[in-house]
């Protein structure tokens, strides 16, 4: 019996690789297993190698595994590109159609199963993916009935016959594999899962759901990988709430339209990845100086420019903190799990309205697209707080005076009203302005307004600015990361503890303003610190050094080849330090 399994299906893009993985994963998720799926794909529609690696476990997993138990291959390229991940008892299940060849330097076994031929005999070669699922089930000794419900959901609208055919294909794959390889097949029986029903979703789903729960009723966005899922989800769900999504002509329109909607009084969102964020930069400054709340999601991908559009990277960090000319108050938060992506996105709308500034919800491709089992979300934790918004009961202002929308206050936050509200008329401008919004270049006013804006976020309240798993007062090592590296660091930490090292873990969730006070004690008390991040220059490490100090004990561990860290990489790098 095994408590963890790593399975990968690969082939040409457009061959149904994604749905094969999807059906396999959903069915196992419903049995109560914890799943983690990560897709390798290219920026094209048809052709090119693609694969979907799925990890199945009886306990929660938040990243891809080092190795592979089963590789399902629809072409030789899949074998050649991925066989090295297989451990010695690993199995390759390959379509007999392409005469699969086993590389010489592997101890894993290859079984050719006529996926295409069986599917064609049953009616259509399209069902070769189902045959592959059946073959996998044979290796796992899994009752194929577990797939029926999912198959029915996916193909049900095409009629009972299609459902039956697909189930037949799974069965045929199962039977063929069992019969032909009986006795030879390694036993990979998974321990029984707890049978609990949990969600299976990508980070972008959680972000979009968080936006809905957080009161977002309007989104303006431009399609871009890996952020588009957010707009696609919300366009389906917002109409039931009276809201909508507008696909704009460009990223600048998306950001300025969200600003307009937010100024108009509705909770509005825009989402993109690096190239889009570059274009939104001027508008972010507008939100900063006009103090219009704005929530932006940045799902980081490989940069610069078009970079690696379908690959993992965390290189927007500095840009998200600093981008836009001039100086503005800004909040940058970085959820490190799918659950946090939900809560943090909902909370971002509160922060934007309370502090009246842009809030960037930073994600990365691995978090946004990694599909995983998620513990139940506690809806009661979601609050709606609108800060100093005033929509009625304003006193009349004599002599057509304007409402002091930018009133100098102790906390820097001024009362805010929205168009339509009587006695609330004021001016809004990206030009430096006085308390009523009228342009003013006077030096004294400039200083007063700059200070007012910047002090708004000095004492920001954010629940858990640093996720800490810090059991040791005198740790040998503190591992620091942000966003999706949470999972890989957790696994490396477990292995390091087994090695006898005392390890603490800090995942930075409030990126800006930086939670120095939260992190400082952990850095101070650790003998060594390693900052793990998917970029080339060690941006987070630099930010930690800048804010916390202790540069001499901080090691950078960076990876920027487009792939997420694997647990063994982090583990061995950390061990090297001792």
């Amino acid at each position: 019996m095994i408590n963890q399994l790593s399975w990968k299906v690969g082939g040409q893009q457009g061959e149904g690789i994604e749905s094969t993985g999807e059906i396999f994963a959903i069915a196992l998720n419903r049995l109560g297993y914890y799943l983690y799926g990560y897709r390798h794909f290219s920026s094209r529609i048809k052709g090119g190698h693609t694969n979907n690696k799925i990890r199945v476990s009886t306990t929660q997993v938040r990243t891809i595994s080092d190795d592979l138990d089963i590789l399902v291959a629809f072409d030789q390229e899949t074998i050649d590109l991925n066989y090295k991940e297989l451990h010695s008892n690993g199995v390759i299940l390959a379509d007999a159609k392409f005469n699969p060849k086993k590389p010489e330097d592997t101890e894993s076994s290859l079984y050719a199963v006529p996926f295409t031929e069986i599917a064609t005999e049953l009616g259509t070669s399209l069902m070769k993916n189902m045959v592959a699922i059946g073959a996998t089930s044979a290796v796992l000794d899994l009752d194929i009935q577990v797939f029926e419900e999912v198959v029915r959901e996916i193909f049900g609208k095409k009629g009972d016959q299609v459902v039956a055919k697909n189930m037949d294909a799974i069965k045929a794959g199962y039977n063929y594999t069992k019969e032909k390889m009986d006795g030879n097949l390694p036993t990979m029986q998974l321990e029984k899962a707890d049978g609990k029903h949990r969600m299976f979703m990508i980070g972008n789903d959680a972000i979009a759901l968080g936006a809905l729960a957080g009161g977002c009723r309007f989104m303006a966005a431009y399609p871009i990988t890996p952020a588009s899922d957010i707009m696609e989800y919300l366009i389906k769900k917002l109409p039931a709430l009276g809201g909508t999504v507008i696909q704009t002509e460009d990223e600048i329109a998306a950001c300025t339209m969200a600003i307009g909607a937010s100024y108009g009084g509705v909770r509005a969102l825009t989402a993109s990845s690096g190239p889009g964020l570059s274009l939104k930069t001027e508008a972010i400054g507008l939100s900063g100086i006009t103090e219009v709340p704005l929530v932006i999601v940045d799902t980081q991908r490989g940069g610069p420019s078009t970079g690696l559009p379908t690959k993992q990277e965390q290189s927007d960090l500095m840009a998200m903190i600093y981008s836009t000319h001039g100086e503005i108050p800004k909040i940058v938060i970085a959820p490190s799990t799918v659950e946090e992506a939900f809560y943090d996105t909902a909370e971002a709308f509160n922060l934007a309205e309370e502090y009246q500034c842009p809030v960037i919800v930073l994600s990365d491709l691995q978090l946004s697209l990694g599909k995983q089992t998620v513990e139940p979300l506690d809806f009661s934790k979601v609050e709606i707080r609108r800060g100093k918004l005033v929509t009625e009961g304003l006193p009349e202002i004599p002599n057509k005076g304007y409402f002091k929308r930018y009133e100098i206050t102790e906390d820097g936050i001024s009362p805010r009203t929205i168009p339509g509200v009587k006695n609330g008329i004021h001016h809004v401008t990206g030009v430096e302005h006085a308390e009523t919004g009228k342009p003013s270049e006077a030096a004294e006013n400039r200083i007063a307004q700059m200070n007012k804006r910047l002090r708004k976020v000095e004492h920001i309240r954010f629940n858990t600015p640093v996720y800490k798993n810090a059991p040791h007062e005198d740790a040998d090592l503190l591992i620091v990361g942000f966003n999706s590296t949470r999972g890989v660091i957790e696994e490396a930490m477990g292995r390091l503890e087994k090695d006898g090292l005392k390890v603490n873990h800090a995942q930075i969730r409030l990126i800006h303003p930086f939670p120095t006070d939260e992190l400082l004690p952990l850095v101070r008390s650790a003998k060594k610190v390693i900052v793990v991040e998917n970029n080339a220059t060690g941006q987070l490490a630099n930010i930690v050094k800048m804010n916390v100090g202790y540069a001499e004990k901080i090691t950078k561990f960076v990876k920027y080849d487009g792939n997420p860290f694997l647990p063994h990489e982090v583990h061995s790098k950390c061990k090297e330090l001792f």
């Binding site: 009723r217 109409p239 809201g243 329109a253 108009g264 509705v266 304007y402 339509g420 008329i425």
Partner: protein, 288 residues
């Protein structure tokens, strides 16, 4: 009920004496009063440039944004609160150079806002460079040998982009301008009003006199029918776009708000921000 005086504030415009924009400001104030608006129900969203300052000179909610982006901001405001009257405004550089994409796509989208462009064929606030509306041969600081690029015809462009309301006016024709703005506000959809608004400081070619000599009023064109798109295009081409009046209006095409699926009939600003637990559970179940 508010009068045009209620739309005045105490800010003195920083426009040059004689600038055409003063009349546009007055026309917006009169039109707003004539259609029965209260100042707090009007939002004027403007771009950057001399004319972009207009949102600060009208007693209403006003938003002076960034260069070229008055339209997306204005559309966002309207989507947030469909009960507001939203006017976007700016200059020809704002609308036809840096913001041209938004102009075309606002036309296509047909959200119910009114866009007033103060067209002076020059960049004024940056002190005299060529604009996409400058004629070939026009000498400016950035085209010392004369402009060699074709001028845009925004009215023809609007017709081809699928506009449902296209009008053009001249800042001195205050009465006509007021009634066109009123018609634009009342139009259910996107209305584009291009106003020749002479720059007395930097444009010595397209002067008040020049416009008086060269403009043709569509009311003087016999048999002109603004519901006929083909006639509109032919007339524009025949007169090199130098016409004033209502060029084209399609009253049958529904606005974006009327077409968008599920969009609240009451302002989105009034919608309940809380999901109920039942709704949330339903959404969550889809991921199980």
């Amino acid at each position: 009920m508010a009068t045009f005086k209620d739309f005045r504030n105490d800010v003195k415009p920083n426009w040059c004496p004689g600038c055409g924009d003063f009349s546009v400001q007055a026309a917006i104030q009169r039109a707003a009063a004539n259609v029965g608006l209260e100042p707090e129900k009007l939002a004027v969203i403007s771009g950057i440039g001399c004319s972009g300052r207009i949102s600060g000179y009208i007693n209403s909610y006003g938003f002076h944004g960034i260069h070229g982006r008055s339209l997306p901001i204005a559309q966002g405001v309207k989507m947030a609160n469909r009960d507001l009257t939203v006017i976007a405004s700016g200059g020809d550089g704002d609308g036809y150079a840096i913001g041209m994409a938004h102009t075309i796509h606002s036309i296509r989208r047909n959200i119910d806002i009114t866009y007033i462009v103060m067209d002076n064929q020059i960049y004024g606030l940056t002190k005299g460079q060529t604009s996409p509306r400058s004629a070939v041969g026009f000498k400016t600081k950035s085209t010392p040998m004369g402009s060699i690029e074709q001028a845009i015809s925004p009215m023809e462009m609007a017709l081809t982009a699928g506009a449902t309301f296209v009008a053009q006016s001249f800042s001195t024709d205050l009465k006509d301008l007021v009634s066109l703005i009123e018609a634009g506000i009342k139009h259910k959809g996107f209305s584009l009003i291009n106003v020749f608004s002479p720059c007395v400081t930097y444009n010595k070619i397209n002067t008040y006199d020049w416009f008086k000599e060269n403009l043709t009023k569509l009311s003087d064109v016999e048999g002109y029918d603004p519901s006929n798109r083909e006639m509109a295009m032919q007339t524009l081409m025949k007169h090199n776009s130098l016409v004033t009046g209502l060029i084209y209006q399609n009253v049958d095409h529904p606005s974006y708000q009327d077409l968008v699926h599920g969009y609240s009939e009451t302002p989105l600003t009034e919608s309940d921000l809380n999901l109920n637990q039942e709704h949330f559970d339903k959404l969550v179940a889809e991921f199980m």
